[in-house]
């Protein structure tokens, strides 16, 4: 049972355009959400997070949107840069689960120069 789903395994975007990565979840107990970026042969790097009391969090070129009623979150990258090419994982957790994270399957983003 996949509690966190990233339905797009890959996404290609032109440099300078917006990248939108989507994530859906099923567990209504999740109360915080995170996005990670992962390059080959490296561990995941934390990008941005959002708690369930907010619907938007922005950090530079990265914005995460949370739609609790739809159990959906998205990561927007504007403008996209070739260095953003990586696998992006969304992850979710709840205070009641000892801060364990459940990860989506990842989306490979390729930003074309």
């Amino acid at each position: 049972d996949q509690q966190v789903k990233q339905n797009s395994p890959s996404l290609s975007v032109q440099e300078g355009r917006i990248s939108i990565l989507n994530c859906d979840y099923t567990n209504s107990m999740f109360d915080y959400f995170l996005w990670y970026k992962k390059y080959p042969a490296e561990g995941p790097t934390f990008l941005i997070s959002i708690s369930s009391i907010k619907d938007k969090n922005e950090d530079g070129r990265f914005t995460v949107f949370l739609n609790k009623s739809a159990k959906h979150l998205s990561l927007h990258i504007v403008p996209s840069q070739p260095g953003d090419s990586a696998v992006y994982f969304c992850a979710a957790g709840s205070a009641g689960s000892a801060r364990q994270l459940t990860f989506g399957s990842g989306t490979q983003l390729t930003v074309l120069p």
Binding site: A41, G43, P44, F46, F89, R99, Q100, L101
Partner: protein, 114 residues
């Protein structure tokens, strides 16, 4: 945020042997976790490493196969025991302090069992 040194970065091991993976954090952290990422799949939580007590394992993972130590607040090890080719995967440790934001990950250990 904390920085984690994980080693080895990769290893090729014979079937039936065991490998111990180490994670050293540059500061004290409340919680440490171990994950596995099998080829083409997402990260799956193996266990929560508890300081001074037995780890808490997720469904499908057992202590005999994946013994974990956490002797203090900056260090943890994961052992993959009696390895088979199905254990070939990337293993990652992670650490966090509640209330301080995101989680930090080690760089991962790419294990190949032959």
């Amino acid at each position: 945020s904390a920085v984690i040194s994980q080693k080895p970065s990769r290893d090729i091991c014979q079937r039936g042997t065991s490998l111990t993976i180490q994670c050293q954090v540059d500061s004290q952290v409340t919680m440490m976790f171990w994950y596995r990422q099998q080829p083409g799949q997402s990260l799956t939580l193996i266990a929560t490493a508890n300081q001074g007590s037995e780890a808490t394992y997720e469904s499908g993972f057992v202590i005999d196969k994946f013994p974990i130590s956490r002797p203090n607040l900056t260090f943890s090890t994961l052992t993959v025991s009696n390895m088979s080719p199905e254990d070939s995967s990337i293993y990652l440790c992670s650490a966090t302090n509640p209330g301080q934001g995101g989680y930090t990950f080690g760089s991962g250990t790419r294990l190949t069992v032959v």
